[in-house]
């Protein structure tokens, strides 16, 4: 099995979760309803936890420990999609991103649970239940708000329009795509994307939202290869501010 290919896969999974978990944690204490504040924080914690699980697998391949990997790399070393690094915006944008991202995430976890690479399969099987709740949460909110007031529908629609090119960027293929598919490690981005479209469409159809025309939407690629928006580096600097006071210290 190609080690490089698996490492690449692990990095993109872990980096996505770390960055989105970090972004979502910014909402703690600022949410629209106390209960939602709590739910959103739990999911952010889960995401950070998922990234930790995948960085731990990477360590078994000889990569540095999870703290070093997460807190000391620069933006161009991150394999996360650009979707996850975008600022939170207002709650409609965060919710739409959560909906677009977690639906894809759940499909990835379902597929990875069948991976021929056992350590990944194990982690995915174990954590799938958490993501299931994330998707239930996301879909329930979108269904509810997406068919409520004009104000809410308008907000969600404009966030959806804004986020969609970035969401399509999640499915940017890796150099090792075919290899991962051939060896049964991962079903590949095409497969995830096809299933993702089905599922998000099924939700959107129950609302008054419209999925923008995919033909004319250019995906925002680059993230998987270290090419990021101007938002990622400041996020990383902030995240590592204390850690970098003394990276050798135990905090």
């Amino acid at each position: 099995m190609n080690e490089q290919a698996i490492k690449d896969l692990l990095y993109k999974l872990a980096d996505d979760q770390l960055i989105l978990g970090h972004r979502n944690s910014e909402w703690t204490g600022f949410g629209p309803i106390l209960e939602e504040d709590i739910a959103f924080s739990s999911m952010a914690q889960d995401k950070i936890g998922h990234s930790l699980a995948f960085y731990t697998l990477l360590q078994e391949f000889g990569e540095a420990d999870p703290d070093t990997v997460a807190f000391t790399r620069n933006a161009n070393q991150f394999h996360s999609s650009q979707l996850v690094e975008l600022p939170n915006g207002e709650y409609d944008f965060s919710l739409i991103r959560h909906f677009l991202y977690d639906n894809a995430e759940f499909i990835r976890f379902e597929m990875l649970a069948q991976s021929s690479y056992e350590p990944i399969a194990k982690v995915a099987t174990k954590l799938k239940g958490e993501v299931k709740y994330h998707v239930l949460h996301a879909n329930t909110w979108i269904k509810n708000l997406g068919s409520s007031t004009e104000e809410a529908i308008l907000r969600l629609q404009s966030s959806l329009n804004e986020a969609l090119p970035y969401a399509l960027g999640m499915f940017e293929k890796s150099k090792y795509e075919q290899e991962l598919i051939d060896t049964g490690v991962y079903a590949g981005e095409e497969a995830v994307k096809a299933e993702w479209l089905k599922r998000i469409q099924a939700v959107i159809e129950k609302t008054e939202l419209k999925l923008p025309d995919l033909e004319s939407t250019a995906p925002k690629y680059g993230g998987r290869y270290g090419d990021h928006t101007e938002h990622l580096q400041p996020l990383l600097d902030e995240m590592a501010e204390v850690f970098k006071i003394d990276p050798t210290a135990e905090w």
């Binding site: 209960e35 954590l127 239940g129 299931k132 329930t140 509810n144």
Partner: protein
């Protein structure tokens, strides 16, 4: 713009200085309340854990799951809208409410008997637990049925009665949502053990002391 020690607050782009007085609110700016019941483990009685504010029962479930089961092991959760629960008066800690209250004639009956869930409070300050399910055509009849079936077991200071159809129950196949809860050690007190560090520090101090 307000520059805060908290970078998150800085990003809220709040104006510096005093805000203008808040706009008066619409008449009701909060959701209805739902009551949550939690099952610790398979076979255990569902126990009352508290309310959430939510626009409907599916959202109430989302909220209750994280507010009331993010920590302890959980194998199931029920939510019911507060206004759907009928409540008896409360009696003293050594009394049985079924003996004290006069069971009233039903004001409304359903054509077909339907299931009701019965919850008992055994002691003031504790939580209501699920006593069981009865079939009846009204709340009052359900209460009578409850008295007959489970009304003689020790002090019962208060009873809640709710139609089963008004209780959203978590699905069997969704139990995996709670699978990893007991593993989230970072939010448990037991994960933090520093005695070793303290002892080591004290010893170092002793050995370097003049």
């Amino acid at each position: 713009m307000l520059k805060s020690l908290d970078p998150r607050v800085t990003r809220l782009n709040l104006p510096e200085g005093a805000l203008p007085p808040a706009e008066p609110k619409p008449v009701l700016d909060q959701f209805e309340t739902y009551e949550t019941f939690h099952q610790k483990k398979e076979g255990a009685a569902y126990t009352y854990v508290g309310p959430v504010h939510a626009p409907n029962e599916e959202v109430a479930f989302l909220f209750s799951k994280e507010q009331y089961s993010r920590r302890a092991a959980c194998s199931g959760m029920w939510v019911a809208r507060t206004s759907h629960i009928m409540v008896t008066p409360y009696v003293g800690d050594d009394e049985n409410v079924y003996d004290v209250i006069r069971l009233e004639e039903p004001t409304e009956r359903s054509e077909q008997p339907e299931p009701y869930e019965i919850f008992h409070l055994k002691k003031r300050g504790k939580a209501h637990t699920h006593a069981g399910r009865v079939v009846a055509t009204s709340y009052q009849e359900a209460l009578q049925e409850a008295k007959r079936q489970f009304g003689d077991k020790g002090p019962i200071v208060n009873v809640w009665v709710v139609k089963s159809k008004h209780v959203l129950q978590s699905a069997e196949e969704d139990k995996d949502m709670w699978l990893t809860v007991p593993e989230k050690k970072y939010r448990e007190a037991t994960a933090y053990k520093v005695m070793d560090k303290i002892t080591k520090y004290k010893e170092e101090q002793k050995s370097t002391a003049p």
